[in-house]
Amino acid sequence: MKEKNKIVSVLEYTVLIIFAFGALFPVIYMVSNSFMGEEEVNAALQNFKFHIIPDCFTMIQYYTILIRKPDFLLRFWNSVILTVPIVIGQIGTSIFGAYAFAKIEFKFKQQIFFMFILLMIMPYQVTLVPIYIIMKKINLVGSYASVILPGIFSTFGVFLMTQFLKSIPDEQCEAAKVDGASHIQILFKIIMPQCRGAVVSLAILSFVDNWNMIEQPLILLGNEKQPLSTFLSQINNNELGMAFACGVMFMMPSIFVFLNGEKQLLQGIQHLDMK
């Protein structure tokens, strides 16, 4: 029996390792190739070889994109300009929305919340055309605001925060009300100190989502304001080594954000799961 368990365990681990390798392989491949010269990368691709360990370790691709090609950096800052305001704005709107859904009783609350969930499960492309028309009407097409403004109002953020706020006992809010606290005071003095984890997890998820956005900038922004996410696809086949280095640099901020708030993110997701 013990031996059977051991075999099952080995099989489980083997399957898991295969899946983990399958998931991680593209990242490993990208990172290792980013430390190869252009010729080595092209030679490996032409011969259909998966070349993981560089024959000649070099930082030339990073040197090229960081020192010799200012365009990469401009795109990087375009991504920052778009993502940071969206994350901050999304946290603000989500907290207020979530407080209303979780702690205030009003007519058609359930129906409106249901609509929120409905919007959340819809693909973004569905709302893209109306957003474009609205932005064109208010003359914002081509400006950063055309991406930032719609990005701030996220249904997922409201949903996530609502689930978290529901876990905070209503009695605390009732007690504050009895003491004469307004909704704003309750939100900032009672609720906010308790939902730091949820805010961080929302920030991480929102950051990753918006850092990787493709459709919005492609449709709403001009060529000069395109972020890194769309820029990577413009690198042609002859410069794949540079594409690998760009890819590594592109995923760095997301990794940093995740590592910095990993604990809070897990807590937030657990809360979501609990509910």
């Binding site: 950096l73 800052w77 690198i235 410069e239 540079m242 940093f256």
Partner: protein, 375 residues
């Protein structure tokens, strides 16, 4: 353990941000420092060989001028520059009322003087001095009266007095009529007495070329020498034509310390006034369409190459780069040579590298410098 990890992550994030910020701030400076600077020149037609080359201007040798006899008010100009005219053709019309008024004023002055002379003659003791003085005045006024209509027809037209071509209409003297197509008289303007209104040349005018050279190069030309006059330098695509001129005049301008030369052009079929031409001594007779300094040539195993500068869309934006092109060297002297390229050297490129701050190779990205013209 947890806190140590967090501190490490925070440090890495700070380093990452600092690197990105610094790279962004200094990227342009670093890029400019690292790229080889190449001086770019354009392919030009030119001469190969010993001798002197300068720029000159074509002028008509003999022009016939039609002057404004009085301060006329020109109402209409009937001809245009480069228009052929025949003797007796109307060139312009002046305000006839003004002429009539002037004539009447003169007639009045003559009549007054005539009366005064008559009354002086009838006097018992005529004052002979006064009489002489008035007679002189009368003669003068008569001459003035005749002068009023000189150069004009009865209806106030200025006529051409030879067959030929109008080469200049003196716009200063006819005010608003710089080129005479106006016939409505709306832009009447005053001409100044004694100044030329029109310049006419014969149907087959002789042309001369004028050029200046510094006193140290003046020995290259002497009166009677033949020089080459070439057109087509300004425009790459224009056909290069070379004619001969004979130096006819050499004058020293002490103020500028330079010599002014004039030469009579023998064959003027393709030239016209104010054309800019290249004047060169006969030693540098042969001219070529693609002349470059020898510093542009790169020799590799006995084969000659030049680097042409072009722009391409790189992975990270547009960039300037050099492309190696094999060329065949034709004639050459100490400084310049003419080249023939296997591919088209003039399409889609900024020019040819004449000097590079660092060694360059085919497809290298460069920073082009344009010494005498912008892109």
């Amino acid at each position: 353990m947890e806190s140590k990890r967090n501190k490490m992550i925070t440090k890495i994030i700070i380093v990452f941000i600092v690197v990105i910020v610094l790279c962004t701030y200094f990227s342009k400076t670093v890029e400019n420092m690292l790229l080889p600077e190449v001086t770019v020149i354009q392919l030009k037609p030119g001469a190969i060989g010993e001798g002197f080359e300068g720029t000159g201007t074509v002028e008509y040798e003999d022009t016939h001028k039609i002057y404004s006899r009085q301060d006329w008010t020109v109402k209409e100009i009937e001809v245009k520059v480069n228009q052929n005219v025949k003797k007796g053709d109307v060139l312009a019309k002046v305000d006839i009322d003004q002429i009539t008024l002037m004539e009447r004023e003169e007639e009045e002055a003559i009549m007054e003087l005539q009366d005064e002379i008559n009354s002086l003659k009838k006097a018992p003791n005529p004052d002979q001095d006064k009489l002489k003085e008035d007679q002189f005045k009368l003669d003068t006024e008569n001459i003035k009266y005749k002068e009023i209509r000189k150069g004009l027809t009865g209806d106030g037209s200025i006529l051409s007095d030879m067959d030929g071509k109008i080469v200049n209409i003196n716009s200063q003297n006819v005010g608003g009529f710089s080129e005479a197509s106006e016939g409505d008289g709306s832009g009447a303007a005053d001409s100044v007495a004694g100044n030329p209104l029109f310049e006419i040349v014969s149907s087959e005018p002789s042309l001369s070329v004028k050029w200046t050279v510094s006193s140290k190069d003046a020995d290259e030309f002497s009166i009677g020498d033949n020089v080459n006059v070439a057109t087509g330098d300004d425009d790459k695509n224009s056909k290069l034509t070379v004619v001969t001129a004979t130096v006819s005049e050499k004058t020293y301008n002490a103020e500028k310390d330079e010599y002014e030369f004039s030469g009579i052009i023998s064959d003027n079929s393709n030239l016209k006034q104010d054309d800019k031409v290249t004047v060169s001594t006969e030693a540098s007779t042969k001219r070529y369409n693609n002349v470059i300094p020898k510093s542009c040539l790169y020799d590799e195993d006995g084969t000659d190459y030049v680097y042409e500068v072009s722009a391409r869309s790189g992975a990270l934006g547009e960039e300037d780069y050099v492309e190696k092109v094999q060329v065949q060297v034709g004639a050459s002297d100490d400084l310049n040579c003419s080249i023939k390229a296997t591919s088209d050297l003039t399409k889609g490129i900024y020019g040819i590298v004449s000097n590079a701050s660092k060694p360059i190779e085919d497809n290298d990205e460069v920073k082009p410098i344009f010494p005498d013209s912008s892109r």
